[in-house]
Assembly symmetry: C2
Homo-oligomer: 334 residues x 2
């Protein structure tokens, strides 16, 4: 029965070396060799010693933890649970962190977070942070206090960002629908303030204008039920609709259900293009044609940037958003 966990001093004592030497071999640092290394390793094994990461971080000033900052919208619904987006961000980050044995820390703040709360997180994000869903204000604040940050949405110009071409994606979506012979293309947009929602709406409008088609829009909330309701409203007001561009798959899944509920068929009567290529898209029936947001890749890129060291202020990368064809759009260019 051990009284308390063994420390590096115990290891050093058992191995008959100094603490400095023990530290050297534990870190594979040069300047220790021959039988000493072996003795230290034996001592580690004998004691079941595991270095204390906290002490290590304090002494070295380096942390093996990168943070992700995310806003929790409402109670229950916004944070991770409700939306597949977050899990994809985490998956992308973990895929690169796992290999280098760095841990990921989740920091949630409300959408009404005080600057002080942001500062507190920034002050402790030594290894850096990925800003997953943040307001421009928060991102700017965070970046002022912690340079090692990269955002996954476009914010203030100074804060490094890895963004998706949301405008282009929405534009493409409308084009595809039009190329398949659709002319009454409605849109279900995301929540008002959301930067992604704004961009996707912009892309839709731009395409519709260029195509000379009427803007038929409804507002949603990026959640399934919102998509369902919005689709119902749209169908009620515009019974002649033949396509919908929906700003996220979760809403699109709801829209498919709503369309089915009115007795129409997807994709024959109403075609749908979603956005995100999330798990919701493959679970819908028919599976959704959608605009693939390379979230995992973006998150991985952001993480690599952080791991590499300093992130140049104003750094910017833009990922393409590609069309993925599945069952909710007609195959032929009818």
């Amino acid at each position: 029965m051990r009284i308390s966990k063994p420390t590096i001093d115990d290891v050093a004592r058992v191995a008959g070396v100094s603490r400095a030497t023990a530290s050297r071999v534990l870190n594979d640092a040069p300047g220790a060799s021959g039988p000493v290394r072996a003795r230290v390793h034996d001592a580690v094994a004998a004691l079941g010693y595991r270095p204390n990461e906290t002490a290590r971080a304090l002494a070295s000033g380096r942390q093996r933890t990168v943070d992700v900052l995310a806003i929790t919208y409402g109670p229950n619904e916004g944070w991770l649970g409700g939306h597949p987006y977050y899990s994809r961000v985490l998956a992308g980050m973990m895929s690169v962190l796992e290999a280098v044995d760095v841990q990921l820390r989740l920091c949630a703040v409300g959408s009404d977070a005080t600057p002080a709360a942001i500062d507190a997180i920034a002050a402790n994000a030594t290894a850096g942070a990925v800003l997953a869903t943040v307001t421009p204000t928060m991102a700017a604040r965070f970046h002022r206090r912690c340079r090692r940050a990269v955002s996954l949405v476009a914010t203030a110009p100074s804060v490094p960002a890895i963004e998706a071409d949301n405008v282009g994606g929405a534009y493409t979506a409308v084009q595809r629908l039009h190329a398949r012979g659709r002319g009454r293309i409605a849109a279900i947009h995301g929540p008002a303030g959301n930067p992604c929602a704004i961009d996707r709406r912009t892309g839709y409008r731009r395409a519709m204008r260029q195509l000379g088609l009427p803007d038929i829009s409804a507002d949603g909330d990026f959640l399934r039920a919102g998509g369902y309701q919005a689709a119902l409203r749209l169908l009620d007001r515009h019974p002649d609709l033949d396509a919908m561009f929906v700003a996220c798959d979760l809403m699109a899944a709801g829209a498919v259900q709503a369309i089915a509920a009115t007795g129409r068929r997807v994709p024959d009567d109403v075609s749908i293009v979603g956005f995100d290529d999330s798990v919701a898209a493959i679970c819908a029936n028919p599976p959704l044609s959608t605009m693939r947001l390379p979230v995992e890749e973006m998150a991985a890129a952001a993480t690599r940037l952080l791991l590499a060291g300093t992130v140049p202020t104003g750094h910017r990368e833009r990922f393409a958003v590609d069309f993925v064809e599945r069952g909710s759009t007609p195959r032929s260019t009818a």
Copy 2:
């Protein structure tokens, strides 16, 4: 331009007090009062000071971080990205952690993780860990090195667990199907070694035996594509099937698509009950009737247990798994 971040010593100096006193007021500890508190707070504000959590953790021996240990199955597919389960675990945990300002740390290990890797995580999980998906071996190992652990699946009897009644849930699912007049009830099970999969299979078999119905089983992998394929195989071999019990919603969503692909209708020709009540269930079309696994509640309970202090060895809680009726089962008791 600050050279380096202010420390508590800076605060103490500016406030004209000792470091000990500054520490007291920063921690709202007794033994400091009157104008001193105000002076310290002023100094904090003036310097933009934020305590270093690492140093704090080292000195106090307490961490404001709870870990979640999860296995990454294959490349890309298992971890978070592929399965909605993880995001629900995280959501449940965050809902309680957020309120007490504790952070969550994700630790991923492969299914082939060495004991040493587990030990390393256990040694640093001061505040405790929720074992989300682990093998019984891993759980036992972890618990030996770190008593503050609670598993979300049943494992060795000694390791505290908060589990769902998977057996009972599966049993209920079959009963419901039978009560609605279904007699040819097939099952799509989860991967062989998975504890949850095993329990759900047990529940299915028990119910079928009691009902005097034939066991018609296929194996899946807890992913959508696996459910799709399994359903196709089942339908091919047993064209007279009138119901399916599917061990997870993701697979069930695939099964719905497969059934539709063979020209059958859900729920009229083939009824389906899924398992989990995940986002996949509400995205499917028709939305899936499913067995609700209260993952968020379980994860929250586990987290609260950890936060409360020591977890009694062998502690056990069992959550009920309830039937949620949606569109994939017939309304009437035809």
